[in-house]
C-alpha cells in the first residue's frame, strides 16, 4: 500500500510541475500552440486532484486495515480505535495533515479549473499560481514529510494509538473545516496576484475573489469555533479559548480576511482601496501559511503544536518566496491600482470601512505581536516570557469594543457623505435601547454570582462585560432597524405584511442583509463571551452522599465507579443535580485512560442552558481516601457563543445566494402619488 501511496504522490507532484510550467509558458508565449498547451496544463491540474485523492484514500484504507508497516499509521492509530477516528488519522499527524492540505488545495484547484469558462485568461493565471503553491506542498509530502514512510524492523502487532485529546467527535470535523479555511485563502490570493500580473481591467476579478473569500471565511469561522467547542468539551479547564499560539495562528488570517470582506465593498462600489485590498488578500494568504509555519516548525512552544521538525525551514523559504513574488509584481504594476474616486467626508461609509480595517488589522497585530513576543524576548534578553490571556485581554478587548461601536455605526452611514442629522435620527433609538439595557444590568438586584447586579466599578472584567453587552445590544438594534426600515418601504409599496416584506428585502440584496445577519450572530457571540467575567468554579473531594454547592446548584454524589473498554479504561462519578430543592438532572463526568497511547483524558459533563453551563470535571481519585475529586464550573451564557456561530454561518450562506430580481408591483402614477412618504427600496447596489 505504501508503494501505491508514494507513487500517487510522486505522480501528483509531476502533474503539478507540468500544470505550473506548461500553464506559465502558455501564458507568456503567444505562439499558435499556446492555447493547446494551456489546456493540457489545465487538465494536468484536474488530474493532480485525482492523484492526491488516491494517495489520501490509500492512507485511510491503511488505517482501517491496521497496516502498521507504514510508520504514520503505527504512530497515529491502533487496532481498537473506532472507525471515525481511523478516518481522522489522515490529519492527526504532521505528514498526514500535510497530505490533507495538499488534497484540499488540489480540490479547490479542481473546482477552479472546471469553472475556467467564467474568464479563461484570469482563471489560467490563477491556475498557474495555485499550481505553484501546490508544488510546494507536494514537495513537502514527497521529500520532507512523507506519510508513506515504511517502519523498519519487525512488524508491530499494534499501533501507538491516536492522541486521546483527538478522540472526540468534533475532531473528525474541526481540522477539515479549519484547513478548508486556511487552504481556501490560496484561491483569492491566486486571483488577486493573477489580476495584478495581467493588469486585469475592471472589477470582475474582485467579484470572483469575494465569493471565494466568503466561502473560505465561512469554513475558517466554523473551524475556529469548532476548535473552541472542542477545547471546552475535552480539555477540562472550563474555558474555550486560551490564546495559545496555534489558536492565534487561526485567528490572524480570519481577522485580516474579515477586513478584506469589508474593504472590498469600497472597491466594488467606489473603485477605491485597490492597493489596500491587494495587500489584504496577500496578507490573509500569507498569515495562513505563517500560522502553519508556527504550528509545524516548533519555533513557538504550544500545547497544540506538532513535533519540532525540519519542515519549518521549508515554510520559511516558501514565505520569503511568496512575499518576494508579490512585492515584485506589486511595484511593477501598482499604477494599475489607482483609485477612481475621492473621499468626500470623514462621516461616510467609506471612512467607516477605513476605521474598520484599521481596527481589524490592529487586532491582528496585537495577536501577532503577543504570539511572537516570547521569541523576540528570548532573542533580545536571552530569556523567554509568557504572553497569556491577561496580555491579550488587556490589549485586544478595548480594540474589539471600538470595533463593536463601528459595527453599530457603519450600516447607518451613507456612501460618500452622511449628515449628522440623519446619523442622529437613525442612532437615537438604538442608543437609548442600549443605554436602557446597561442601566437595567447595573441596577437589577442580582446577576450571575453577584447579589448586587453588574457593577462595572468592582472589576475591570465587569466593566468590559457591561460595555460588550451594551454595545452588542446597540449593534443588534441598528441591524433590526435596518431590516425594519427596508421592510417598511417594501410593505408600503406592495401591501405585504412586515415579515414577508423583510424576507423579500433580504432576497433582493442577500449580500447586504446576509451581512447584517452575520453581524447579529457576532453580537450573540459577544454576549456569550461577556459572560466569562462571571465564571465561578469549585473543587471538592466527594464521597457517597457528599454535597457541593455552586451558584444555585447543589450536587450530590450518588456513586462512582470504573469500567474497562477495548480502547480505554474509564472512571466516573454519578452526581444528582438539584436546583431550588428539586432534582433536575444526573451528570456523569468521566476520566479515561487510553491503553495504546498510555495517556489519560477528561470527559467533562456539561449541562447547558441559555443562562449558564454547569461544567463538571472528574479530576481523579484521591489515593488516600479513595474518593473522587470533582471540579465544578458555572459558566454563564456560553451557549450564546455556539448559537451565535450558527447565526453567522446562516448569514454567510445567505450572503452567497444570488439576489432575487426586484419585481415591479406599483404603477408609475401611483408611485408618484405616494412619493412624498416613500423611501426607495434598498437594492443590490446599496
Amino acid at each position: 500500500m505504501a508503494q501505491i501511496g508514494s507513487f500517487a504522490l510522486l505522480f501528483a507532484f509531476a502533474l503539478s510541475v507540468y500544470c505550473f510550467a506548461g500553464g506559465l509558458v502558455a501564458l507568456i508565449s503567444a505562439g499558435p500552440n499556446s492555447e493547446r498547451l494551456g489546456e493540457t496544463a489545465r487538465r494536468a491540474g484536474i488530474a493532480l486532484f485525482a492523484a492526491v485523492l488516491l494517495a489520501a484514500v490509500v492512507l485511510v484504507v491503511a488505517a482501517f486495515r491496521n497496516d502498521f508497516t507504514i510508520a504514520y499509521i503505527f504512530h497515529h492509530s491502533n487496532r481498537d480505535l473506532p472507525g471515525p477516528y481511523k478516518f481522522a488519522t489522515l490529519w492527526s499527524g504532521q505528514e498526514g495533515s500535510l497530505l490533507f492540505w495538499s488534497l484540499l488545495l488540489a480540490g479547490y484547484g479542481f473546482v477552479l479549473r472546471l469553472r475556467y469558462k467564467t474568464d479563461p485568461r484570469l482563471f489560467a493565471y490563477a491556475s498557474v499560481i495555485l499550481a505553484g503553491v501546490q508544488i510546494f506542498f507536494l514537495a513537502l509530502v514527497n521529500f520532507a514529510a512523507n506519510p508513506f514512510g515504511v517502519l523498519q524492523g519487525p512488524l508491530r502487532p499494534d499501533g501507538s494509538g491516536l492522541n486521546p485529546l483527538l478522540q472526540y467527535p468534533e475532531m473528525v470535523i474541526h481540522p477539515p473545516m479549519l484547513y478548508l479555511g486556511y487552504v481556501g485563502f490560496t484561491v483569492p490570493f491566486a486571483f488577486a496576484l493573477g489580476a495584478l500580473i495581467m493588469k486585469y481591467p475592471g472589477e470582475k476579478w474582485i467579484h470572483i475573489t469575494r465569493r471565494w473569500t466568503m466561502v473560505t471565511w465561512g469554513f475558517l469561522t466554523c473551524g475556529i469555533f469548532l476548535g473552541a467547542h472542542w477545547a471546552y468539551s475535552v480539555l477540562g479547564w472550563g474555558g474555550y479559548w486560551g490564546w495559545d499560539p496555534v489558536e492565534n495562528a487561526s485567528l490572524m488570517p480570519w481577522l485580516v480576511g474579515t477586513a478584506f470582506l469589508h474593504s472590498v465593498m469600497m472597491q466594488e462600489k467606489r473603485g477605491m482601496l485597490k492597493v489596500w485590498n491587494m495587500w489584504l488578500v496577500f496578507a490573509t494568504f500569507w498569515l495562513a501559511i505563517l500560522g502553519t509555519f508556527l504550528t509545524r516548525s516548533g519555533i513557538i512552544s504550544s500545547v497544540h503544536a506538532f513535533a519540532q521538525s525540519s519542515i519549518g525551514d521549508w515554510f520559511a523559504w516558501f514565505l520569503a518566496i511568496t512575499m518576494a513574488v508579490f512585492v515584485y509584481f506589486f511595484f511593477k504594476n501598482k499604477d494599475h491600482l489607482r483609485s477612481e474616486h475621492k473621499l468626500e467626508s470623514l462621516v461616510s461609509r467609506e471612512s467607516s470601512f477605513l476605521f474598520n480595517n484599521l481596527l481589524f488589522l490592529l487586532l491582528c497585530l496585537d495577536v501577532l505581536w503577543g504570539t511572537w513576543f516570547p521569541k523576540i524576548s528570548e532573542l533580545v534578553q536571552g530569556n523567554k516570557v509568557t504572553v497569556g490571556a491577561p496580555f491579550y485581554n488587556r490589549v485586544a478587548i478595548p480594540v474589539a469594543l471600538l470595533l463593536l461601536i463601528l459595527t453599530a455605526l457603519g450600516p447607518l452611514l451613507a456612501w460618500r457623505k452622511t449628515s449628522f442629522e440623519s446619523l442622529k435620527r437613525n442612532f437615537k433609538w438604538p442608543t437609548l435601547g442600549a443605554l436602557a439595557v446597561m442601566a437595567f444590568l447595573m441596577l437589577s438586584p442580582g446577576s450571575w454570582g453577584s447579589p448586587f447586579g453588574l457593577r462595572p466599578w468592582q472589576d475591570i472584567s465587569y466593566f468590559y462585560s457591561l460595555m460588550a453587552i451594551g454595545l452588542a445590544v446597540l449593534v443588534a438594534l441598528t441591524v433590526a432597524s435596518e431590516f425594519y426600515r427596508g421592510g417598511k418601504v417594501i410593505s408600503n409599496h406592495t401591501g405585504q405584511g412586515m415579515f414577508a416584506s423583510m424576507v423579500q428585502l433580504t432576497h433582493r440584496n442577500t449580500r447586504r442583509y446576509g451581512g447584517y445577519i452575520v453581524h447579529f450572530g457576532v453580537v450573540v457571540v459577544i454576549i456569550g463571551l461577556a459572560g466569562a467575567a462571571f465564571n465561578q468554579d469549585k473543587e471538592q473531594e466527594m464521597g457517597y452522599g457528599d454535597k457541593m454547592t455552586i451558584g444555585s446548584y447543589t450536587l450530590v454524589c450518588r456513586s462512582y465507579t470504573d469500567e474497562e473498554y477495548p480502547n480505554y479504561a474509564a472512571e466516573w462519578a454519578v452526581l444528582d443535580v438539584y436546583k431550588d430543592g428539586r432534582q433536575i438532572d444526573t451528570l456523569t463526568p468521566e476520566r479515561r485512560f487510553y491503553k495504546a497511547s498510555q495517556q489519560t483524558s477528561t470527559m467533562p459533563f456539561i449541562r447547558s442552558t441559555l443562562a449558564e453551563d454547569l461544567y463538571l470535571v472528574y479530576e481523579g481519585i484521591n489515593q488516600d481516601t479513595g474518593h473522587p475529586i470533582l471540579k465544578a464550573h458555572l459558566n454563564p451564557l456560553v451557549m450564546w457563543i455556539w448559537l451565535g456561530v450558527w447565526i453567522i454561518i446562516a448569514g454567510t450562506a445567505l450572503a452567497l445566494v444570488p439576489n432575487a430580481p426586484a419585481p415591479v408591483h406599483v404603477p408609475v402614477a401611483r408611485r408618484v402619488e405616494s412619493s412624498a412618504t416613500a423611501t426607495p427600496v434598498p437594492t443590490a447596489g446599496d
Binding site: 477605513l354 490592529l362 466599578w457 471540579k631 412618504t677
Partner: protein
Amino acid sequence: MGMRLLDGVFSVMKVNSNSKAQRTLGCVLLALAVCLLAGAGDPTSRFNDLGHQLMCICGCNQILLECNHVGCPDSDGMRTELMAAVSRGDSDSLVQQAFIQKYGPTVLAAPLTSGFDRTAWILPFVALVLGFGLVVVVVRAWKNRPTPALADGLRPAMGGELDRFREQARKETEL
C-alpha cells in the same frame, strides 16, 4: 497609594473650584477613584487575581488557578505559596518577584511592565494611536484630491447646489 490618589483628586478640585465643569469632573474622578479602590485589599480576591496572573509550570501552559491535573507536581504547591504570601500581606509586585526568582520569568502569565518587557505593552497602544492618526491623514488627503473631470462638458454638483440635492434626496427618501 490609594490615599495619594484621593489627595490628588481633592487638590484638582481645590485648584479648579471656580469652574462648574471642572468641579463636576473632579466629582466624577473622585467617584471613580472610590469605586476602583473599594474592595482592593480583600485576600480572597487578591489570591484570585494574582493566581490568574501566574502560570502553572508543569508544562500544561495553563493559568495557575485553571490547571486541572490531578497529581500535578507543581500547581498545589504554587497555590499554597501564593495563599501564604497573600495572607502575609505581601504586595503584588513582591509576590510576583518571589515567584519569578523561584520559577523563572515564564511563571508570569503576561510580560512585566518594566525593562524590555514594557515594549510588549506599549507597541499595541502606539500602533492604535498611529493607526488612527494615519487613517485621519489619509481621509483628509483623499478629501483634498481634485475631483476627476467629467466628459462632454458635464459639471458635477458642488457646494450649495450639492447640499440642495442632498436635502431633496433626504426628504424624498424619508420614512
